[in-house]
Symmetry: none
């Protein structure tokens, strides 16, 4: 089963808006086990749209178009596909009534071109637009690919996909089979290193499959299993995860697409009823902000402080190990938090090659002022160094929590 | 002159990342007057990538590929295009030295597959990657379209496009004509409102042109003029900007693509030799981090503090106007900074419609502890509220600086 996505809209071609519909439905298709080999964008131009449809129809079983279903004269997707599949456009009375009601309630006169929003192909299935007016269309033909036409505005596209399209595709194409995914998150190892270490697993897997994904400062692996039932799917995922953990477990920190090192750390702190305070030099508040964002209820963070060259008395060296330890103890005492973490100011060396290398001390103190320290080294070639340092600090907390 | 964009990466096809490179360069091409009729995305698969290149080569003069230049075995863009144009891959010594240096400095062993990142076509031009390792490639052939290969990570793609690709394309394709852009930045007005207010200007302009772009919490307008010489170009831009400032000047805060409200505010503070300190409730350090990021030399920020429910003594109400003013004065006294800004904790009301509305007090104190306050209201349906609140705080500082 191969699907192809076509986003229609000149404003996308010009970069005036970023198309989020395509990645949104692509994720849903991937989870359904529908393969997507090609995605394209074309402007509001019937000839070029038809040319794009012809290419897609040759190589895909399902052609999904988003955008161009509106009432303006630029909106030609519906008419262009109808012409291509030789289908007649007919009115969906329910959709038409909704449009007329809206214009009546807002005391505006409905222009004729609004009728097109309520139209679908005579032999197709119209998809109700809960959050807008333009109906979606699902069309299956004896010869050639199926077509799915969806509205462009994400506020209409996303609910229509989640509420109607996904169940419809599941029923239509996979009545029998179940699909389950599991996301593993890693910090402290680069994508190229992780994929090299796991290459045997990544290459040879067909079910479950492994998909690596490099995010800023971290890497995730998505395992996806096809199975006849839930138990079988989980058994497949467990088996593959065990092999991965054996190789890369040292860098693994948590599960799930909607997760982060800050969420994992703050969840653990909350479970252990531990509060923490921060004192930050180089990161200047970024760690406190991350801890607070991860747990908006604010029960973990006892407070934070940002120290700079100006606040420190001259004789103090805010880059030294000793001073970093002193800072951690100081903020712990001040806020009476269970734990306290200090991030120092950086020392930067110019190497012989003219490249810069930075060092920053981290210190984590507990209530008894037992302190764990770490020296983080990074090259200034690498971007996001402050955010990366926040991750290093979170990782230090996570290690001590183990 | 017709360009076509091809984004390469299975993680884009799967929706695991949203391709922001294509809209980014599409805007630059539009500015240069290069038309884009088609954009497509293909996975890390040499056959399908080649098929996509063949289609593009038939209908476009310039084929731009992004992604697939990295060190993993999925990264095959360079090899696939080289094969298609029958070009040999050779090492760029400068790029190779940078890779080796990085691995030496970080005491990691360089895997062989990293060498590919330093390779370009024998008869092409290699584009230096300032923020990463993989070189870009610009290749012109006697027969058929030109090719431009660019790295996938936006942190590498965007600087390479702005700093090297745009001037290169200008020189290569528009040698005769001068093209000058000016970016105006606005905060506190939405894109739809701004474009409505300026619609007459936006629609009727042909030279200079006006292109609006909605960023998170701000809107930019890019004015682009074509002219025979620099003076004429600037005259055209000045004329149009004057008209825009007359209408929307109240929301204008600065110029330039690589600018931000934090940069503008910190630059003004530095010029006036003013130091500032922060005390943050809801934003929990984000404002301090933004001020510090905007001026890494750290001479403006006298220090910051993060306050939470836990740190405040129970009788204190960290959401009240009075307490916000007290916090600003307190941190000013403590850090002896010229100015001090306080961001309170939010109060949240549930409206009859079940929707939430939040209020947060801001207070800015000067050395004489003269305080300016502001109550920020936002609806929780709006995202990025913390970052938005940081912008509101910066905007308050900017207003008082005027």
């Amino acid at each position: 089963m191969k699907a192809e996505l076509i986003a229609v809209g000149t404003e996308i071609l010009l970069g005036e808006i970023t198309d989020t519909n395509t990645p949104f439905i692509a994720r849903e298709l991937a989870n359904l086990g529908i393969e997507t080999y090609f995605q394209s964008t074309v402007g509001d131009n019937p000839e070029r749209l038809q040319a794009t449809i012809e290419i897609a129809a040759k190589r895909s079983d399902l052609v999904i178009l988003s955008g161009g279903l509106g009432p303006t004269k630029d909106d030609l997707t519906k008419q262009t596909v109808a012409k291509y599949v030789h289908e007649e456009l007919v009115i969906d009375p329910k959709a038409m009534a909704k449009i007329e009601r809206y214009y009546a309630e807002t005391n505006r006169t409905m222009t004729a071109n609004n009728r097109i929003q309520a139209m679908y192909f005579k032999d197709s299935r119209a998809l109700t637009n809960r959050t807008g007016f333009a109906v979606g269309i699902f069309y299956q033909q004896a010869q050639g690919p199926d077509f799915l036409l969806l509205p462009g505005p994400p506020s209409e596209f996303e609910p229509m996909v989640s509420e109607q399209v996904v169940p419809l595709l599941q029923r239509t194409y996979f009545n029998d089979q179940l699909l389950r995914s599991r996301v593993l998150r890693f910090f402290g190892i680069g994508e190229s290193q992780l994929t090299t270490d796991l290459s045997a697993l990544i290459v040879n897997q067909t079910n479950p499959t492994v998909a690596p994904y490099a995010k800023t400062n971290e890497v995730t692996l998505r395992l996806t299993a096809k199975a006849a039932n839930e138990m079988e799917a989980q058994r497949l995922l467990d088996g593959l995860e065990a092999q991965i953990q054996k190789i890369a477990g040292a860098y693994f920190y948590g599960y799930g697409e909607d997760n982060s090192l800050a969420k994992v750390v703050t969840r653990k702190l909350q479970e252990r009823k531990l509060t923490i305070s921060t004192i930050e030099g180089y990161t200047a508040g970024l760690l406190a902000a991350d801890l607070s964002n991860a747990r908006p209820d604010d029960t973990i963070l006892s407070g934070g402080q940002v120290v700079t060259k100006l606040t420190s008395t001259p004789q103090k060296n805010l880059t030294s190990k000793e001073e970093t330890i002193a800072l951690a103890k100081q903020i712990q005492t001040k806020t009476r938090s269970d734990w306290a973490i200090a991030i120092a100011l950086p020392t930067v060396e110019n190497t012989t090659t003219g490249e810069k290398i930075g060092h920053v001390w981290l210190a984590l103190s507990d209530r008894q002022q037992q302190v764990t320290t770490q020296l983080v080294t990074f090259s200034t070639i690498r971007s996001f160094t402050k955010q990366r340092l926040v991750m290093d600090a979170l990782s230090l907390i996570n290690r001590v929590l183990k």
